[in-house]
Symmetry: C2
Subunit: 189 residues, 2 copies
């Protein structure tokens, strides 16, 4: 049941932001009464923190599956981007954008957990950039972490921007342009 509540909450928060989701909304979405929710979630701050934790435990394995494939780095970047694109098409953009862009509405501990979750994702993606540099398939200046953070930021930003423009179809071409730019072209190198 708790998982169902969090599933519904995630979907609502992704598209509205945490502070625009009330316990009443959440109760309606899962078919319970408002009071019952408090048996599963202590308060709104805990709701936010649970959502952030799930953001890691739920999507982390999906990223890991792509990263652990036996392919070159550009293919992995495309695979990661496709995960974000699919979520966007499913109307489920990453929670980190919704939560991160209204930081002052979160408690201190929630902010800390959000930052930690972001760092975990960046570190994961950095492995791909490091692999790409090692195998000569990616070219970029600076640290792999910086490159990975830029990549992650673009994925987050594209989800938001595509939805704002009502033009979900441009996610793919935009990210493809980026990946091509960091990929060492076959003709050279």
């Amino acid at each position: 049941m708790r998982e169902q509540i969090l599933d519904a909450a995630e979907r609502l928060v992704q598209n509205r932001g945490l502070s625009a989701v009330s316990f009443q909304d959440l109760a309606d979405a899962v078919g319970l009464r408002k009071a019952s929710l408090f048996h599963h979630i202590k308060n709104k701050d805990e709701l936010g923190r649970l959502l952030i934790q799930r953001c890691g435990s739920k999507h982390g394995p999906r990223y890991a599956a792509v990263i652990e494939q036996d392919t070159d780095a550009p293919a992995k970047l495309r695979g990661i981007a496709r995960l974000f694109e699919n979520d966007l098409h499913a109307g489920e953009p990453c929670l980190m954008a919704a939560l991160g862009s209204s930081l002052d509405a979160l408690s201190g501990s929630a902010v800390a957990e959000l930052g930690a979750a972001a760092q975990v994702s960046v570190a994961r993606f950095a492995l791909v950039f490091a692999q790409g540099r090692r195998e000569g398939s990616l070219a970029f200046e600076g640290s792999a972490e910086d490159a990975a953070m830029g990549f992650f930021a673009m994925l987050e930003g594209l989800q938001t921007l595509c939805r704002a423009k009502g033009d979900v179809s441009s996610f793919g071409p935009c990210v493809a342009t980026y990946i091509q730019a960091v990929t060492v072209s076959e003709g050279l190198a």
Copy 2:
């Protein structure tokens, strides 16, 4: 007075999201009583729409000033990025991230205006990418619009991500890595 209200509202919304900013907050911030605000702003939906419009009329000229400089495209990209970086350091991230990541909390007309504003920015940045391709200073596949949208998305995403991680200093290196990747290196070409 209306401008002062909108200034204060912008600052609040940037860091909290529109639905977490109440008229009471806003009244406290500008030193008026809540009731007085409604002589300047009809309702919350209009507040959101005015904020979006200002996002264009206020920041548009700043971008234009950089774009109309007589420099090469990579320098213009760095200039645009620096604007976003300065705003981030000033605790004033772009409104589009805050508003765009909670679209379902906005009215239909507000969403339309937000999308239009986003399109205007993308078109502006696309001019720079087109120039770069023309003068041979930037290399990328696909349309200039796609490249520009990816660039814009990264700037938006980096603002959010840096704040979430509490590490504002990594904005510069991350975006530098991207710009370098799309810039045609002097040794080649």
